[in-house]
């Protein structure tokens, strides 16, 4: 694994220690693929089982949103960018689909633009509950970018250098 800069971690807190980008078509079977990839990438930090589940769940929601709302019935490209820090991860899920008209409304619990699909309308609420920060940028006709940050409390204070010879 990487990491000459591990030793000076505190000086480089804002610099990712590792990063990864995954690009895949908006097929629903890629929902599990994306969350498994995100979880195994994040597991480098050795977070707790529960923290890993949180990441898996949030990624699943973000990717599902891109597939059913961003691209609806067509197939487009979804990009997932993961930036790994000493004790946190920033995951961005980007689609170039139809965008969200009213982000405020979309983020409300139980709101769904597709009531006929029997969706729970909990997607953004789940992301907000399972991650520490969720930021949504969207432009109608251009696409949506969801950025989620998770701080791993279990990793804080661990001696990261010893796992990394």
């Amino acid at each position: 694994m990487m990491s000459k800069d591990r030793g000076t971690a505190s000086a480089d807190r804002n610099k990712p220690i590792n990063e990864m980008t995954l690009i895949f078509p908006s097929l629903s079977r890629n929902e599990s693929f994306a969350r498994v990839v995100a979880a195994s990438f994040v597991s480098q930090l050795d977070p707790s089982v529960e923290e890993l589940s949180d990441v898996r769940t949030a990624v699943s929601e973000a990717v599902t949103n891109a597939i059913i709302h961003g691209y609806e019935n067509e197939t487009g490209i979804i990009k997932m960018v993961c930036l790994l820090y000493e004790d946190s991860v920033e995951i961005t899920v980007i689609d170039e689909g139809k965008g969200i008209e009213n982000i405020e409304l979309a983020r409300q619990p139980l709101y769904t633009s597709k009531p006929d699909m029997e969706r729970s309308g909990m997607g953004f609420t789940v992301m907000e509950t399972f991650m520490d920060e969720v930021n949504v940028e969207s432009e109608v006709g251009k696409g949506t970018k969801v950025t989620m940050i998770k701080y791993f409390d279990s990793v804080k204070g661990k001696d990261r250098t010893k796992n990394n010879k």
Binding site: P25, S28, E50, R56, T57
Partner: protein, 142 residues
């Protein structure tokens, strides 16, 4: 590099286009008028239509009045599962039936609690307890 990864993924998904990749199994059993739905694997949007169709075709049988969702063997669930449970809960409530959930996975429990399902449907740590509670409520109704 990215292009290459994309080509590989597209190729891979094309290869499997015709084959249904169901990572989830639905098993049914009955106890009196309780339909016990056991879900095994991972429940997400990809399999949600399949699961919904399977449950609904079993649910319409006249023997079904109450329902227990046994999630003990589910290793993952996202908000698609919430939609499925809430939908079935509404249908069962319409015929004055009871719904209970059995679950011990902390990730799924967290999801059930935050979604408010925990407020309308009792949650137990195993299927036997869930079935027992539904039986008790059903008996008190008679």
């Amino acid at each position: 590099m990215m292009c290459l990864a994309y080509i590989v993924i597209v190729f891979y998904s094309g290869l499997y286009k015709e084959r249904r990749m169901i990572r989830l199994q639905v098993k049914f059993s009955n106890k009196g008028n309780i339909l016990i739905v056991k879900l095994i694997g991972e429940l997400d949007h990809h399999v949600s239509d399949y699961v919904r169709r399977k449950i609904d075709s079993e649910m319409i049988k006249p023997t079904t009045k109450n329902m227990v969702f046994d999630l003990s063997n589910l290793s993952f669930m996202d908000s698609s599962g919430i939609g499925i449970i809430m939908g079935r809960y509404r249908a069962i409530s319409r015929i004055n039936g009871q719904v209970a959930v059995a679950c011990s996975n902390t990730q799924i429990l967290k999801l059930l609690e935050m979604s408010g399902i925990g407020n309308v449907v009792p949650i137990f740590d195993d299927a036997d307890k869930a079935v027992k509670s539904v039986l008790e409520v059903a008996q008190n109704d008679v």
